[in-house]
């Protein structure tokens, strides 16, 4: 034992040094590597360009609107997209190809596009868009209107949620500041 000690980097001092290395190493792993490992990256099934549509003068509400019962219709259905994109264009530009992909894979098959929604709340949350009508959409949603390529979707490998899913404390903070009730059943179902 005595011999070993003399071989080492100098007793307690070495221990402290290594402790420091361990400490810093852990910080690096925890703050830099871990977050990268925690999320998987996903891209949208169709590279939908909001800018193109916005430039055509299409209002957000034309596709994302409240239903008559005050419930949010969410994303447009394949059928409503097909009102404009019913047929393949044969256009060889990147946008044209993407449209043709959409027509071929979804319009022709009648399937709905499995869009990845950055903000979806879990099933146990009841979110009313009607109750939040007064706010700008971008208060909570990423401002996709200015994106040509939809942002990457980060999925938490453990919880399965989108990285952008609003956490409860964020909802609560705003409710508190607005004087709105934070009772459980205001949001949970």
């Amino acid at each position: 034992m005595e011999e070993k000690r003399s071989n080492s980097a100098g007793g307690v001092g070495g221990m402290v040094l290594f402790a420091l290395i361990g400490f810093v190493g852990a910080l690096v792993v925890g703050w830099v590597i871990f977050p990268k490992l925690l999320y998987s990256e996903k891209t949208q099934p169709i590279r939908f360009s909001h800018t193109v549509h916005a430039q055509l003068g299409i209002d957000c509400e034309q596709c994302h609107h409240l239903g008559p019962d005050g419930r949010f219709a969410g994303l447009p259905t394949t059928e409503s997209c097909a009102e404009c994109h019913g047929e393949e264009t044969g256009d060889n530009s990147p946008n044209g190809k993407e449209i043709d992909k959409f027509v071929k894979d979804y319009v022709k098959t009648g399937a709905q596009v499995p869009w990845l929604v950055y903000q979806y709340q879990p099933d146990n949350v009841f979110f009313s868009h009607a109750a939040h009508k007064g706010f700008e959409c971008t208060k909570c949603h990423p401002d996709v209107a200015k994106t040509d390529t939809p942002p990457t979707y980060y999925q938490n490998r453990v919880s399965g949620y989108s990285k952008d899913t609003m956490k409860m404390w964020e909802c609560e903070r705003c409710h508190a500041s607005m004087g709105t009730s934070n009772a459980c059943y205001v949001c949970h179902k």
């Binding site: 005050g70 146990n124 059943y185 949970h188 179902k189």
Partner: protein
Amino acid sequence: MSGHSKEFPITWGMVIDIDKCTGCGACMASCQTENNIEPQPEASNKLRSTSWMLVYELTNDKAFPDHDIAFLPRPCQQCGNPPCVSVCPVVATDKNEDGGIVSQVYPRCIGCRYCVAACPYHVRYFGWYDPVWPEGMEKTLSPLTSVRPRGVVEKCSFCHHRWNLAKDAARASGKNPDNLDDGAYVTACVQNCPSGALSFGDLKNPKHKVHELIKNPNAFRLLQRLGTNTQVYYISRREWVRKLGDNYLKSE
């Protein structure tokens, strides 16, 4: 300790006319699908099956031909002073909302079942297993109630998601979501009861008919002497039925 009742400006309540209940089970069947409770092959075993709404058969305990029966549908009584809320270690159940509905938040619940033990009405159910639907039937799940994993406690919520819907509808049509018309928000059991035995509304709103009904001399509540101060009222013209709503000493 027994604590005290909070007051809420809106107090949703149910009035159940026992004399009109035929015990058919439409309320229970309505509840099961409204609230995404899985079909249970051993559902008649009441000790293990989940039924937020449960119809009890009451008898006057006399022999034929003096025997009489009545059916008592039992949703969560939404106590004003809930025995279950104060015991929850993690605030998974609470009574803190306008409307006075005792909430149960599944993602918070740790499944200790202390609330199950505390509730004398047996309205609280535990998820003994993960819920399973026959293949494809999950397509008929209601979007308005979340599916619970195993290991958490669940109970009748007065279909509070329907309240949220009604508030949304009121907002969409420019009405006041905090002053709903009578009938704008009713639970699934109330809606579907063919006999009209169940009424629902804001007990404090004079425009709602339950406001008057609870003042009926034949109205009573379950286990009132325990101080639970429930928001579910029962009505029966039969004295023996009313007497079964609580425990009484021989001298009383």
